[in-house]
Symmetry: C2
DNA sequence: GGTTGACCTCGACCTAAGTCGAAGTTGTTT
DNA sequence: AAACAACTTCGACTTAGGTCGAGGTCAACC
């Protein structure tokens, strides 16, 4: 029916993608997306930016940081429009990431389960608390526990 | 053997709990822990602060915010030292929280799995992208998608 | 009783992922 | 050609969860 426009304004991209225009500029600043400019310095986006944005937002949902996303996007070919299989490859990486996160949470839950009965949460003996550090002996000179690290790569 | 000290200095608490002294002051400011003061205005902690800290750190690992933790701690009795069953009750709540998180991630993964084959990630059709919003019709006037919401309660 | 290390407060700074507002420019529509 | 919506940049601000340093005090040991 109607001709698809060649290029989209930032407002159109915001509307179609659901990503606020402020975030679009922010993503551009971070090198996640790119735009061309009109002679009057306004941004114009090719339609495929929408797919890129879909990737970004979904990746965030999966729990990746924008930096992670940036790195993933950097593996896309520069010289051509990414194909389905390019996107599939990246998505497959999420799967790994997600599986790992799910597993970590499950392990945590299982430890918690074994703790609930005793109400322990002791710094000395609770396995939940000492996830990756067994040397929490009490007494002087006990080395510091590692600070809690968030799950992630 | 050796007598346990009545009260601990901030340094001792930091060492035994693995929580940096800066964080201890921060937690106190946030009302998560409390201390008494010496005549010279230095903090002194009763030993049971260690258990409270264990709770806090573990809760963070589970993914709760300090505010969540604060609210949970607020349900502990003021008038007596919390018992095992007090802690058990709180821990049981984490379990629910954790289960929910695991479930959300699993749903996400399953959607992702069904998407990987097609590499779609389309704003229009990808179920991954449209987790809670089906009206992503293209064309002018399409209402905005909801901004991505993080999985949570 | 002096030295030294542990402690105090306060304000500035940090990252992540943006948002908001001001002041000025462009693009579109009538 | 004037109005007005949409766009531009820039810097300040936000929340969460802290860290860092300065300048000053306290406590413990020899």
């Amino acid at each position: 029916m109607s001709k698809l426009p060649e290029m989209l304004t930032i407002g159109q991209v915001a509307e179609r993608s659901g990503v606020p225009h402020t975030a679009l500029r922010f993503y551009e600043e971070r090198g996640l997306i790119a735009s061309e400019r009109t002679t009057g310095n306004q941004r114009r986006y090719p339609r495929h930016v929408l797919r890129r944005l879909a990737f970004i937002r979904t990746a965030q949902r999966v729990g990746l940081s924008l930096e992670d996303v940036h790195d993933a996007l950097a593996t896309l070919p520069d010289n051509r429009t990414p194909t389905k299989s390019d996107w599939s490859r990246l998505s497959a990486n999420w799967q790994v990431e997600l599986d790992a996160r799910i597993d970590a949470l499950r392990r945590l839950r299982d430890r918690l389960t074994s703790c609930i009965g005793c109400g322990c949460l002791s710094l000395r003996s609770c396995s939940l608390h000492n996830l990756d550090d067994e040397q929490a002996v009490d007494g002087p000179g006990a080395p510091k526990l590692k600070p809690a690290v968030e799950g992630g790569t």
